[in-house]
């Protein structure tokens, strides 16, 4: 019985350390991306990795290292709120980037938002809604 709990503890610690290493790799990738990528949209793409995956890995590691229900509840709340709020932040930053045009437009293959913006004044004058009805 005692040996079994010891073994599970060691396995949990090993998994926790591996997950911390995963989160470290995520952060390292984000750091290198922030340094090396050419414009804001690509940096946003690189920077969003540790914000969700890294935090999930760290919270799982914390629960594995100190398994108890209060810690599990708090860790899942942290992950939940991170997954709720980070996409909002990334979306708003991407929107601001597009509007302030601080990115390299020649790297875009398709720019559907520009078409919408071009057609918006005419549509507004005609009394139609600002957005085209969905194409999908």
């Amino acid at each position: 019985m005692d040996g079994l709990t010891q073994i599970t503890e060691q396995v949990g610690d090993g998994l926790a350390v591996a997950l911390v290493l995963v989160a470290g790799l995520m952060s390292l990738a984000a750091g290198i991306g922030l340094m090396r990528f050419p414009d804001t949209l690509t940096r946003l793409h690189a920077g969003a990795k540790p914000q969700v995956l890294g935090v999930i890995a760290i919270c799982t590691a914390i629960v594995l290292r100190m398994p108890s229900f209060p810690i599990l509840a708090l860790a899942s709340l942290v992950v939940l709120f991170q997954m709720l709020t980070q996409p909002i932040a990334a979306h708003m930053v991407g929107r601001a980037t597009y509007r302030s045009e601080s990115f390299d437009k020649s790297t875009l293959i398709l720019d559907e938002l520009a078409e919408e913006i071009d057609e918006a004044p005419a549509r507004r004058k005609a009394g139609k809604p600002n957005l085209k009805p969905g194409k999908d």
Binding site: A23, S27, G31, M35, S102
Partner: protein
């Protein structure tokens, strides 16, 4: 063994923090600084988690919760301000 791996991971987080601070200082656009500040917050959350794992102390868990909840406020408000200012 475990401490060595954790130290390596902490070093990786430190690289991310330094890169984020470099990007905050260098810019060039304000949105770059927002992105870098978000990465900085994520790295801080991860580093606090590593600290909790090293010390086996769960006192910092509410700090992680608060950071996960409110890190979004800064970036959303500044991003909102940026896109409004460029409209005019």
């Amino acid at each position: 063994m475990m401490n060595i791996v954790l130290a390596i991971a902490a070093l990786m987080f430190a690289v991310a923090v330094v890169a984020a601070i470099y990007r905050i200082v260098r810019g060039p656009a304000h949105v770059d600084r927002i992105v870098a500040a978000d990465v900085l917050t994520a790295a801080i959350v991860c580093l606090l988690g590593v600290w909790m794992i090293v010390t086996e102390d769960t006192t910092l868990m509410p700090v992680l919760l608060a950071l996960a909840l409110f890190a979004v406020v800064g970036s959303v408000s500044v991003a909102r301000f940026m896109s409004q200012r460029n409209d005019d």
